[in-house]
Amino acid sequence: MTLAVRESAPATSRRIARKVLGHDAGAYLFLAPWLIGIFVLTVGPALGSLYLSFTRFDLITEPRFVGLANYTRIFTNDAKFLAAMKVTFTYVLLAVPLKLIFALSVAIVLNKGLRGLTVYRALFYLPSLLGGSVAIAVLWRKIFAKDGLFNDVLSTFGIDGVSWIGDPDYALYTLVVLSIWQFGSPMIIFLAGLRQIPQDLYEAASLDGASKRRQFWKITLPLLTPIIFFNAIIQTIEAFKAFTPAFIISEGTGGPVNSTLFYTLYLFQEAFSYFRMGYASALAWILLVIIACFTAVSFISARYWVHYEE
């Protein structure tokens, strides 16, 4: 906050403002909160990090310009970067489709006009509200430990479970399940989409003798493609940015044996555990480019499989 002492002359300043901004002054004034937000809190720091990505910066000494050194190392000599990419892509490619399929299945069941639909809808949505929270990640740690609740249940069926989060062969898949469990928001959107499909299409198809399955593939799915597309984009971006569950379950180590070293977690370690802000900024920009590419490819492919009613 600055404290300015000046001659009180609101009239002059108003005149100047009008000259500079023209007729739109009022509009800009009302946009100001958003403008300040995006420039001060988003664009500014992002450009700052672009600059830092070409430096060495450990927070305590001044940043030192190193050219492309950070990027060169990431692409040619960084085994951890490759490990993080592998973990992240495995996660995205598994979690996103599975979550969407699960969300769509639940939406279809709920769409059948169950009694007490609103209650079910709220219940199924609940995990999405809680899922990203620290408390739930801690809870999952307890449930999926070697002597946790999940293995207790398995043992009543005579199955001897492993440590689902302590074993590098299973830890990542446990996190995939955690992500699928938070299917609430795509489910709600699917449900809304299903409601939009005109009932007379189904009636006509029934009259022509199309089976339920055929109706699903020929009517429901094609008409739902815009919704699927939207959900896929949003969920993919979210999956690339996944951080909290891995951070809590492995306490920030990405272990065991880097099996849960998400890209964002690796970025966090470089920045805040090892104080290589420059290197971490470079990693962040690479992630941004990857997500942008994924989204662009999705939009291009959308021309071939997404049907808009015209």
Binding site: V5, S8, S163, G166, D167, E251, G252, P256, V257, F275
Partner: protein, 430 residues
């Protein structure tokens, strides 16, 4: 946000303030004349004791207020680095031997030398205990207590099964044998002799020193070879095969904290820790726990352990009240009242005078810690040079490689080579 005030009202306000000052300081202002911020990492036990000590100090010095803040080890260093770089560092900083060189050489810490013998009276620390806080011959950290590595045992379980805690004579081979027997005798599913310490840095360091090596040289290079690492991993692999130590999927959930230690979780009878942590371990364990020396290399082996400052008090170079901050440091380490409030939770006080004053008041845990430190002072080697930048990252590599071996992802020799190669790479990156 801009606030526009015209000249007349500013003048009025200024006159009012001046009048207030002339009236001789009303009480509300004077009470918190000197505000200091204090920042440390550690358990709840430590927080309780620190706040108690601060209260004693501010009760006696009514014009001072101390705002304390505490975090876990990992978050602590993140936040401290951010605050120092934002010119917003706390006045009193709990410092670690691992980081003091980095911070001192960048000018972030206050030099204590001008205060020595005046507000800072630590002459009876002895040269070694004082010098642990020196960087380039200047004092930047005041020793808060001495500690050393320990074998942490669940005494109740050992007594019950008829085993004795390791002594200064116990070798690694004897230790491994005993651990395997504990597993066998206890005969409980999921309970083992010892934690899998193959990824613990302090114990690996002791092991290297016993072989006449070290983790790092004074100029910040690696001081152990793939052969040393191989011998260490091999020893633990044999213990794993013999079911002397916990399986890897249990060890993987250990997060370098007392509450995730296999001993606290009832998965093993023995773990490794530091002597000042005895208090914290006992607070979380229903059964009786105790401390014992680390196993040694047997005949011809060198001392592996050393006494080190568990932590140090530093004062920020940006502090607006350096003299008051140093007075508080002095209160913690050199006044019987302050030292009694923090007890032995930060290690055994370096001051002989304070130790003598505390001794009659000590409980059983305190006596055990003091006895342990005086016993070990005859069996320790020199304090190693401070670890180079990147040492923290190498610690995580040691842990990861130990897991890769334990889960059978790489062979022992291969893992040992990998550790050395990655460590060299990290050190060369700086």
């Amino acid at each position: 946000m801009d606030i526009t005030i015209d000249r007349r009202s500013l003048l009025k306000a200024g006159a009012g303030l001046a009048a207030l000052g002339a009236m001789g300081a009303p009480s509300a202002f004077a009470q918190a004349e000197t505000k200091l911020r204090m920042y440390w990492w550690g358990s709840k036990e430590r927080a309780d004791r620190t706040f108690a000590a601060n209260k004693l100090y501010t009760d006696k010095n009514k014009n001072v207020s101390i705002e304390g803040e505490t975090l876990g080890w990992n978050d602590y260093w993140t936040k401290l680095a951010t605050q120092v770089s934002g010119r917003n560092a706390p006045d009193l900083i709990q410092m670690d031997y691992r980081y003091i060189f980095e911070y001192a050489r960048r000018g972030a810490l206050l030099n204590f030398d001008p205060y020595m013998g005046k507000v800072l009276q630590i002459e009876d620390f002895g040269k070694e205990a004082t010098d642990a806080g020196r960087v380039d011959n200047k004092l930047f950290g005041v020793n808060l207590g001495m500690n050393s590595m320990v074998t942490l045992v669940n005494r109740s379980v050992l007594d019950q099964l008829g085993f004795k805690a390791p002594t200064t004579e116990t070798t690694w081979a004897q230790f491994a044998e005993m651990a395997a027997e504990i597993t066998k005798k206890a005969n409980r599913p999921g309970f083992f002799g010892v934690s899998d310490a193959s990824g613990y840095e302090p114990e690996f360091e002791a092991f290297c020193r016993q072989r006449g090596k070290a983790l790092y040289t004074a100029d910040g290079k690696l001081a152990f070879t793939a052969e040393d690492a191989g011998a260490w991993f091999d020893m633990w692999d044999k213990m794993r095969q013999a079911k002397a130590c916990v399986p890897p999927d249990v060890q993987a959930l250990y997060k370098n904290s007392i509450d995730t230690s296999p001993v606290t979780l009832g998965k093993s009878a023995i773990d490794f820790a530091h002597s000042n942590q005895l208090v914290g371990f006992q607070a979380l364990n229903k059964e009786k726990v105790g401390i014992a020396p680390l196993p040694n290399a047997g005949a011809g082996g060198k001392p592996g352990q050393y006494l080190k400052p568990s932590m140090l008090w530093s004062v920020s170079a940006q502090s607006k009240n350096p003299e008051e901050a140093v007075k508080i440091v002095n209160f913690f380490v050199a006044s019987p009242e302050g030292a009694a409030a923090i007890g032995l939770e930060r290690g055994v006080p370096a001051s002989a005078k304070i130790r003598a004053a505390l001794l009659p008041e000590l409980d059983a845990l305190g006596k055990e810690t003091v006895d342990y430190i005086s016993l070990m002072s005859k069996h320790v080697g020199a304090l190693p040079p401070p670890p180079p930048k990147g040492a923290g990252e190498i610690e995580s590599v040691l842990r990861r490689v130990s897991e890769e071996i334990a889960f059978g992802k790489v062979k022992i020799a291969e893992g040992a080579k990998k550790l050395v190669a990655e460590a060299d790479d990290i050190l060369s990156r700086g």
